[in-house]
Assembly symmetry: D2
Homo-oligomer: 137 residues x 4
């Protein structure tokens, strides 16, 4: 089974750049988010559908590895791929230069399902995720 | 009657500064927000109490005048003062250097009440605002 | 003479939205910035070229009028048009829903030239701006 | 030898919170930054002094573990402690509730020195860091 992947092209905005003239490291989380939302849209299970299904999926772990500085007005591609889904939703990311394909950063996030509105953590992913992934429960 | 005012001291964070080494102009809205929340806390009508009262108060107008550039690690004071409340909530702001008192920016926001959850705009401020301001309706 | 205009399409990211489920008002400045940079790229006088020309152009005035709330994953179009250039650079903006064309916000920014690196304000726009706009000095 | 530590109290601003009513996970990097800058101020080697010393220290690795959701207007304390300094600058962080002391998040960043303005990575920390830490080279 191949797990879904998606990517998004981003033109780095001025307001993401710091006094060193490079993207401030915390703003890479925005590029991961854009790629993740493209991925979640692909399986029709983005934030709106998550809430409708009775769950939120807060991020419980984030790792980011910065390979090469990113600059203002650079065209980049952020990609997201599902790596685990049964007990938690682990997504891997890469950021590449759009022109050269050179890798600029990589990382992952881990999300777990919590019930709404009481935020009770679920130790296995609810069936809705497998359904959205097209996997027989 | 004197309308309430409040202020908050802020140490300008690195991530608010742009490649010119100054606070990016859009981030001043954050300093206004911090001052507004200090003001709304003072009258016990911040976002949580607003929602509990059945209303949200979206901003419908913003003006910002930039007087002097603000830099990383500068200590500033943002102040907020209610200027109008009967039909809409107009708040005036100033940002000053904490050490010298020099004015660095000024501006205003205008908010109007909308009912929750349907976001119907109210053309007069609901009684709860006058009550919070200690004004007899 | 027709002054230049440009626009950019934006898919509203999750991290721009606040607890009311709408774009936080301060984040509209990001959409204006994206449209402005598209405009400045069109005349080959974006931030990099500004610095190379010996000037920065800090924003000294911002006005924003919010017409209708913008929501997560909404596709919007931000446009920017130069309105004045001789003594200061005034740019007008509009944000519209990409599908319906309905106007969601409008506003302007005013920028003035300052010399680099000493930030001395210029009371007339330096010749480079007219040159970039294709106007004979 | 005890390596330096510092902490900063933060009142969670409205604009850091997402449609779930909790701090958006990417904004925790802001709280780490505030704590790191308090730490770097303590050893008089914050960004300004870094640049004056001929180096920048870009973040090359970030890890964040989210323990419990953080909400609007919650008073939190972010702390930063230097864990390694000889070849790279590793700082560990914790975020706690200011009232209860309960831990809400933890993580680390790793920074390496690069020369300015050419961004050449240094495989050992330059002497200035040991000097700032009060360690004999």
């Amino acid at each position: 089974m191949t797990l879904p992947t998606a990517e998004a092209e981003i033109l780095v905005p001025f307001h993401d750049c710091d006094p060193l003239g490079i993207v401030w490291h915390g703003n890479y989380t925005r590029y991961f988010e854009v790629a993740r939302c493209a991925l979640l849209d692909r399986i029709a299970y983005n934030y709106t559908e998550m809430v409708e299904s009775g769950y939120a999926w807060p991020v419980i772990d984030l790792h980011l590895r910065y390979v090469k500085a990113i600059r203002f007005n650079q065209r980049i591609v952020a990609s997201a791929t599902i790596e685990e889904w049964e007990h938690r939703l682990k997504i891997a990311y890469a950021i590449r230069d759009a022109a050269s394909g050179e890798r600029l950063a990589r990382g992952h996030t881990i999300q777990v399902a919590v019930t709404l509105p009481d935020f009770q953590m679920q130790y296995a992913s609810p069936d809705v995720l497998a359904h959205k992934l097209g996997i027989s429960p």
